[in-house]
Amino acid sequence: MTEKDGLELASELRALRPEMPLAIITANIQDEIVARARAIGAGFVAKPLTPDGLEPFLSGAALRLRSSKA
């Protein structure tokens, strides 16, 4: 990605929609990338994407969306 990377996009989306669940899904498992995802308030899911890897993010997101509606 030459113009904008996923972390930049996530950060812009976070500013627009503070409550929206977001996850960074990447093969780049560097500690720095995990830390930046956390700082934005996004989940971190490592590639290759597996149901086990995605499940904690999806349950967290579902819980968050349910509680924000309540």
């Binding site: 093969a27 780049n28 498992i29 560097q30 500690d31 990338i33 590639k47 290759p48 597996t50």
Partner: protein, 212 residues
């Protein structure tokens, strides 16, 4: 003649081998998740040699044309990482990572994208593990799929590049049940090797203390 500043000592070589072992094991575990078959790896080979010789080491072992996924990395040290395999294995690998659910036409259609993504996962596993263990961060380019021979993959044809020394790291991998095999290779120029040597010394000091 290899300059003394870039000759790795025994401990530095062991440390680099260990870091690479951990990186490629993670890569193999990820590939295993993608294809659901056992992946075997060789012990990493670490050599300082000319770019031309590095290309020849691959070409001598492979008569067929090669296909490679390339990602360049940059940071305190920079270079190129390649996932290389004989072109004849390419569609088998795509079939393996797509779970054998696609028709032949579909496999051909998504070949480039599937190889790029497979390379992305494998190369990032190695590079990110190296970066984490050396406590530095690297930026990686998006994966690019190339076809050609060893000379082309290592850019031996570039003016003045052929005789330049590089650190050449490579590991053989194989998926025996599917008859797929290839290499994970990394090349770095001499300035990067000098930095890498310092980072390896820091790593050794963290692991064994200052007695080393």
């Amino acid at each position: 003649m290899i300059p003394a500043t870039v000759t790795l000592g025994d401990l530095e070589r062991d440390a680099l081998t260990e870091i690479l072992n951990i990186g490629v094991s993670r890569a193999a575990a990820n590939l295993r998740k993608m294809i659901d078959e056992q992946v075997t790896l060789s012990v990493p080979s670490i050599e300082v040699l000319s770019r031309r010789r590095a290309a020849r080491m691959i070409s001598e072992r492979e008569i067929a044309d090669l296909i490679a996924v390339r990602q360049d990395f940059d940071g305190p040290f920079s270079g190129r990482a390649l996932l290389i395999f004989p072109e004849t294995n390419s569609l088998d690998l795509v079939r393996a990572v797509t779970g054998g659910e696609l028709s032949n036409d579909q496999v051909v259609e998504i070949e480039r994208e599937a190889l790029g993504e497979t390379g992305n996962v494998i190369l990032n596993s190695c590079l990110a593990t190296m970066a984490n263990m050396l406590k530095r961060s690297l930026t990686m380019t998006i994966p690019e799929v190339l076809r050609g021979n060893g000379d082309m993959l290592f850019e031996v044809g570039e003016e003045g590049a052929a005789e330049g020394l590089v650190l050449f790291l490579y590991i053989d991998f194989a998926v025996r049940k599917r008859d797929i095999r290839g290499y994970i290779a990394m090349i770095m120029g001499i300035p990067s090797l000098e930095v890498l040597k310092e980072l390896l010394d820091e790593f050794i000091e963290r692991v064994v203390g200052q007695d080393a």
